[in-house]
Symmetry: D2
Subunit: 376 residues, 4 copies
Amino acid sequence: MKANVHRLSMQHPGDVSALEALIVSGEIRPEEIVAVIGKTEGNGGVNDFTRGYFTQSLMGMLARHLNTPAEALLHTLPCVLSGGTEGVLSPHYLVFSRGGEHPAASAAHAGPGALAIGVAFSQPVAAEEVGRAAQIRSVAEAVVSAIADAGIRSLEDVRFVQVKCPCVTIARAQDAQRRGKAAITSDPNRSMAYARAAGAFGVGIALNELGGSADEYETALLADFSLHSPRASISSGVEIDRHEVIVLGNSPAWTGPLRIAHQPMADALDIGSVYKVLAELGILADHQVREDAAARIAGVLVKCEPDRRGRIHGQRHTMLDDTDINAQRHVRGAVGGMVASVLGDGRIFVSGGAEHQGPDGGGLLAVIAAAADTSS
Amino acid sequence: MKANVHRLSMQHPGDVSALEALIVSGEIRPEEIVAVIGKTEGNGGVNDFTRGYFTQSLMGMLARHLNTPAEALLHTLPCVLSGGTEGVLSPHYLVFSRGGEHPAASAAHAGPGALAIGVAFSQPVAAEEVGRAAQIRSVAEAVVSAIADAGIRSLEDVRFVQVKCPCVTIARAQDAQRRGKAAITSDPNRSMAYARAAGAFGVGIALNELGGSADEYETALLADFSLHSPRASISSGVEIDRHEVIVLGNSPAWTGPLRIAHQPMADALDIGSVYKVLAELGILADHQVREDAAARIAGVLVKCEPDRRGRIHGQRHTMLDDTDINAQRHVRGAVGGMVASVLGDGRIFVSGGAEHQGPDGGGLLAVIAAAADTSS
Amino acid sequence: MKANVHRLSMQHPGDVSALEALIVSGEIRPEEIVAVIGKTEGNGGVNDFTRGYFTQSLMGMLARHLNTPAEALLHTLPCVLSGGTEGVLSPHYLVFSRGGEHPAASAAHAGPGALAIGVAFSQPVAAEEVGRAAQIRSVAEAVVSAIADAGIRSLEDVRFVQVKCPCVTIARAQDAQRRGKAAITSDPNRSMAYARAAGAFGVGIALNELGGSADEYETALLADFSLHSPRASISSGVEIDRHEVIVLGNSPAWTGPLRIAHQPMADALDIGSVYKVLAELGILADHQVREDAAARIAGVLVKCEPDRRGRIHGQRHTMLDDTDINAQRHVRGAVGGMVASVLGDGRIFVSGGAEHQGPDGGGLLAVIAAAADTSS
Amino acid sequence: MKANVHRLSMQHPGDVSALEALIVSGEIRPEEIVAVIGKTEGNGGVNDFTRGYFTQSLMGMLARHLNTPAEALLHTLPCVLSGGTEGVLSPHYLVFSRGGEHPAASAAHAGPGALAIGVAFSQPVAAEEVGRAAQIRSVAEAVVSAIADAGIRSLEDVRFVQVKCPCVTIARAQDAQRRGKAAITSDPNRSMAYARAAGAFGVGIALNELGGSADEYETALLADFSLHSPRASISSGVEIDRHEVIVLGNSPAWTGPLRIAHQPMADALDIGSVYKVLAELGILADHQVREDAAARIAGVLVKCEPDRRGRIHGQRHTMLDDTDINAQRHVRGAVGGMVASVLGDGRIFVSGGAEHQGPDGGGLLAVIAAAADTSS
């Protein structure tokens, strides 16, 4: 099987014309699209409607080309969006598609393998499960499914797991109460943090980074920040009711020029992690990646956090105390500036809210790129 | 003569305790302080009062130690502040002091020379002069005075010129009208852009970067962006009525370990400019400057802009259309993230509004550092 | 002919379920819908995508029920949205529909008449026409068409004219240049203000509030603020290419319980204007409108401005200098608080940018309500 | 004894020139100033430094005129500031002074009495006491002291109690931990809400609105919102270490034309409460207070909240979900618009964070005005 990734620009959050053009021209077969990850120009908060606008536009367009109701696509095609293109970041989306024989049926090729993609949806998550062992377990199971869907046989081959988690809304909390259950919180923002934490532990357990069972980690959620997964990127939103999982890795059962590499990011100044991940992909950066090498890059995924202790390398930062600009907007702008300046390109998926995803106060970084010799 | 630069942190915009401690301990003699440049945690806009708060705190404290009225210090001690510590930036201020025999009287030493500092104030600027040839001329003259004050004999030795320019307020525009004169605009924000542009051309003329006289450049203000000075860093504010100039350079008439280097910044992703300026100072950066080398750095000054054409390296950015976050806040956060990640330190003076200061859409960068062998 | 107005809530900017429910239940016939005016929870600025999201959702839903392409509806059904539900304002939309014999064919009834609605679209507007006499003329002609569409015979009977105007984008300005024409500005925000001003003068000319021709008013655009229309409510947006006009009035040729009244608003504190417009509709307000009377109100439309002279009733306001919150967001929140507290209801259309629409520094107010005796 | 209140405008947060002019002219004797309450043009959040800037400016100026160190004034002169002049609000401050024989020594006069002012400071509050019974108790005791200072003998005569409460900072929480104590939270924002709640209960106990002792109310803090004081206005800030209390009432032991009245505000649309409080003061409002009556008003104090249940009069509001504008800024703008439009004046102290201060989702309102016949 062969994976493909198209990095497409949008003119506004309702603009999916670049993808439609590729479908019309035949470059992308719509039935081969398995996931979309994108960055829209909203504020990234609870009232960021650019995500819903893009999703409606995408599903409506694909529904026409697939002759499937848009509603049905919502439960089969993961679409993970992060709002906020602060600073030099540029609105764009990655379209993941795959074609050919299913990897489960393929024999392993020689060599290092190629980019593998798998997806999965969990069962619906009840409000009282959010931020508790049940959510950790549900994520872990869905990650296992997605790994199988990707035909990845060794957990080492998994490089990046994107999960979108439901959270608690006031309405859902009240519904749980009517059923005699109690949600961990009815504050949507707080529940989103719990959901991201549970998602990270779910990934950690599925990938054997964290030993033991989901139950053992419930009390560590948002409490023990030494525990983390260096391959989990979690977002949470009020608009979904079940987990959506996208697993990316390198597998000998897959072919094609693309490969993925990842690195933990120690803190918001860890520029070394960018050069390290590039080196792993054989991309030389003379400070900034040269244009020919830059053309090989198909996608960049970053997760980061404003350090909750208020300092970076010993110096006070002011992100957490700013009443005017949300702290996640601050950190996306700064880390986006760092990564984009190395790559020479603002089309970077940078998402905040990195609880238990990479080192505390830092985060993680993944790059998908084609091999250097693909044209030969 | 010998220059010294102290980089001090503040806990809030009214906190000058770090400087006072050095004065009390005798490490800094208050009468040797000649200029202050700082970064406060405001929004950097018209209603950023953190600048005024810091200035009042600084002048009040120095007034006590110098036994001089605070009001008098306002016209003898340039204090240039930029509001906005977006992302990883950390509130801090640079205290420039100088001691020993005046450089005009010193013989030139052998070797590359050392950091030289000169300051000057112009005559008050009338509202109708702002954004016109008269302001360009006034800045040029003050820069010449500050160069003389620094004892710098060759214009090549000037590396960075910080100018603070008065602008037009509604009240000043009305006052001009009563005198039968017309201000170029009564919009304070617009007049600040004109003032910065005039400041940049004034520096360019004084440094012979731009040939000809002030009159020839009036129509190019905010119009011909191919014209710029790579050594001018200009800010503008409603709170002053005359130009304040700080000239920094390297002069054989000065002694001490400090030197300054500068580079133009081609655009907001120009990470190469950071490595170049460090190389000129003999600071090796294995991606991020190592701790021992970082300890040599005394100050970092950056000027940048959100590209007014809406694109960086061909990709659309969204800074200029954001109604929620001011575009200058966006770009400071991104460029701050880039520079701080190379230096491993968020104490960077990053200021927006770089019209005609460095290349269009980019800006400039200066670093002050001690020589490597200072301890030997 | 009979007009109807439904005031419907939305749960988010993509939610048109309330309207769809009324269509499904048969309470609203979709082919009778002639205009929609709504308030979405965005920031109201250039990057407010809640307007596009709502429009896409509305047109998509209506397209299904009308069996017409959504694209076609965009040029026949005016949909004027204002982003920003600051403070107590509540996201909602007014659906205007009309049924029965066309008013042009109806005999006049006795009595004061009833709410009349007319709509019109102009020809496309070229970039170089924006903010010039050509745009004033185009709006005036479209208003005349909409008045005819409403079957209104006396200009006195017109009470409120909502116009949406195209503006200049960078792309359109460049296109004009290629055709040898010059746009008045390429700054979208500035051109939106010019477009609103031209719209207001177009309405004023069509309603005979302003004597003379469009040419005579070109130089007064954004210059002579003593000139204004007390019945013009203008918005501008990058997303349209022609004028959309909705005329509301009271006509003896129409039947039904609804009537509209309007008042100029002297300034952002003019609470008297609210009580006056209610009195005209026979709605008594014992400070706040009582519940039974409130139930008669079908729609409230307000236009307002942050006073550009910086003072209200002699006291300084800070809206224009705030770098953190856009001035229009400030004034919508304050005027919304005033009007909503009298009506006891946050479902109020409050739009900023009131240049030449009502008195300088103020704006205007219109209320649509049913007669008191409708149930008898 | 006689109370006086001066309502003074400021041009920026460091401007105390209006007060200094009155001191220089002899209209105010600086030693008679007992409290200052003001509204500065910041964002009202943790990083609002306009409060510190104003306080530094005020104390510095008074220190010169009183020949007392500014530091000493900080512990004897309560200065309560609220940041945020959203919408039509105007930056200003109320200077409370009193002269003549101490009220405790005065005989009661006939008639309704006049404005009485008392102040008190508590002992320093430890971090572990914040948001617990100890803080409730400390506030209650300080309120009792301030009532005595005002010479008020009947609790009915107290109309408005302004308290400023210390809160927990990260540093203070760590210090408590070193002493073996645990703060209720180390999140400054959360601790500020707890502190305001404790302040409200302290006032309620001191005024006998709430029966029983402080211990009984600890668990109701931020939990049982049916409990509230209709006369408590509480703010909290990181900059203080003890409670500051200002009690305002009407007492027969005081003379002069001023009186104070107050009303609970049922919700953010409760315009009736404004008219009621004016009626109690004999101020007739023909919708907006007429100019002659407006001249009698010396100060307006309002406390309000964005309804935490997400609805006002059954309609959804969007304040709590806005990532761009803080919810308190939203509600201050709306309630400020309502109150200012009735009074015809934007100089209103409107403060958010009204937990347990007035009805849930509403708040309270107090007006100080001179009697109508004062000139006769």
